[in-house]
Symmetry: C2
Subunit: 211 residues, 2 copies
DNA sequence: GAAAAATTGTTAATTATTTAACAAAGAGTT
DNA sequence: AACTCTTTGTTAAATAATTAACAATTTTTC
């Protein structure tokens, strides 16, 4: 169980989300093919992922929903939780904060940063916005481990540098501009234009090869 | 050159973005290792991707920036372009529209849909918002091929169904809830919580194995 | 003009991920 | 109690993606 594949990690997060919904509906057990259906993947893949984390279901009854939720939590969460900051309170940053509001998770967005004076000091969906220059101080004070970059693409490198200086541990960069960070910092980049262009490509070539 | 790997498609989109910036700066040629540096990948991978699309650089001079931009365009764009609609004008939908504004690309967001009466009829960053019930009509009339779902997770299945009925060809689902579509429709799903949980996991296990 | 350095293009090897195959075993059926 | 069906867990095979290795060739340097 030492080295889980990256893809498995992603799926575990998704399984958990689906399982929480099932639990809320009062479902106590679930089959691999049911999870698979929800996630549009194969039952084998679900079973294999679950095998990798060392959980065992009951033959002909499936997996215990709550146990599986808890186990996934043990794997992907930290006990104490991690604090997160959003840098850039535009629409995207705001969406990010809203997204998390109410989601009970071990990840909490505890601060936001921007350089627009109109935003400094205001509280957005429960998250206070500070000036970017206060970043190092707040990140230390609030023990923030992860920074989400949602500024305009042009400012991304500068922001990422500031996050690095502030001793951040992980960065999620949502701008179209790739940033460079020392490699003890975990960096994940995602860009919506690429995704849309990818969809466009497959629409163009009318390949329909996803489940 | 028939079957490009999915990952290559994504990278081509990213290369092009980087190349456009280079071109704007007046750079006429670029080496594989320069592109690699920008994208944090290896030069071999860049060369291999470029090989796959059948382009050939000049030994010791690198690739012609403009030619490469044009060729990538031939591959991932359609000649006439494709029209896109955003469903759900919350922060995320709004971010999506802004993101695209001014980006010269063969993809145009030409319509938005929402069910909030306050938004119907308004124009957001140049994109008119219609009621969700008008979807089928507008999608047909404006020849829209791709739908981006940015509604609250709970409404995703319903919206996706409406898009399918409207004969959409590709869907990009940004909600945390996976949707089911017939498989001649290309579906791409992305969910920010999963990404953030993934970063958290790798921060937790302080693995620093990305370039 | 020979040698060294740089850089592409490509095949082969490696690694990562998914899928197939199937044994094992519980539950229901006759 | 034998038979059938279902579903898990796991090994093996297949597929996909990345990386290594290196020949070929142009430019630069001596």
């Amino acid at each position: 169980m030492k080295n889980l594949p990256h893809k498995t990690i992603e799926r575990l997060s998704q399984y958990r989300r689906a399982l929480l919904i099932c639990a809320a509906k009062g479902k106590t057990h679930i089959f691999s093919h049911e999870i698979a259906k929800i996630q549009h993947i194969t039952p084998v893949q679900v079973r294999r992922d679950i095998m990798l984390i060392g959980y065992t279901g009951t033959l002909r009854k499936g997996y215990n929903v709550q146990e599986l939720i808890d186990l996934i939590g043990d794997i992907i969460d930290t006990k104490e939780g991690l604090n997160v900051a959003v840098v850039g309170i535009g629409n995207l940053g705001h969406a990010m904060i809203n997204y998390f509001n109410g989601k009970r998770t071990k990840l909490s967005i505890v601060a936001a940063f921007d350089n627009n004076p109109d935003k400094i000091g205001r509280v957005f969906s429960g998250v206070r916005c500070y000036h970017i220059d206060e970043m190092a101080g707040i990140i230390k004070q609030d023990n923030i481990s992860i920074g989400i970059i949602t500024v305009p693409a042009g400012s991304a490198p500068e922001i990422s540098e500031k996050l690095v200086e502030s001793k951040i541990k992980g960065i999620l960069n949502y701008t179209a501009k790739p940033v460079n960070v020392p490699n003890q910092i975990y960096l994940e980049e995602y860009d919506m234009i690429t995704s849309l262009e990818k969809v466009a490509f497959f629409v163009k070539t009318h390949i329909s090869d996803n489940s």
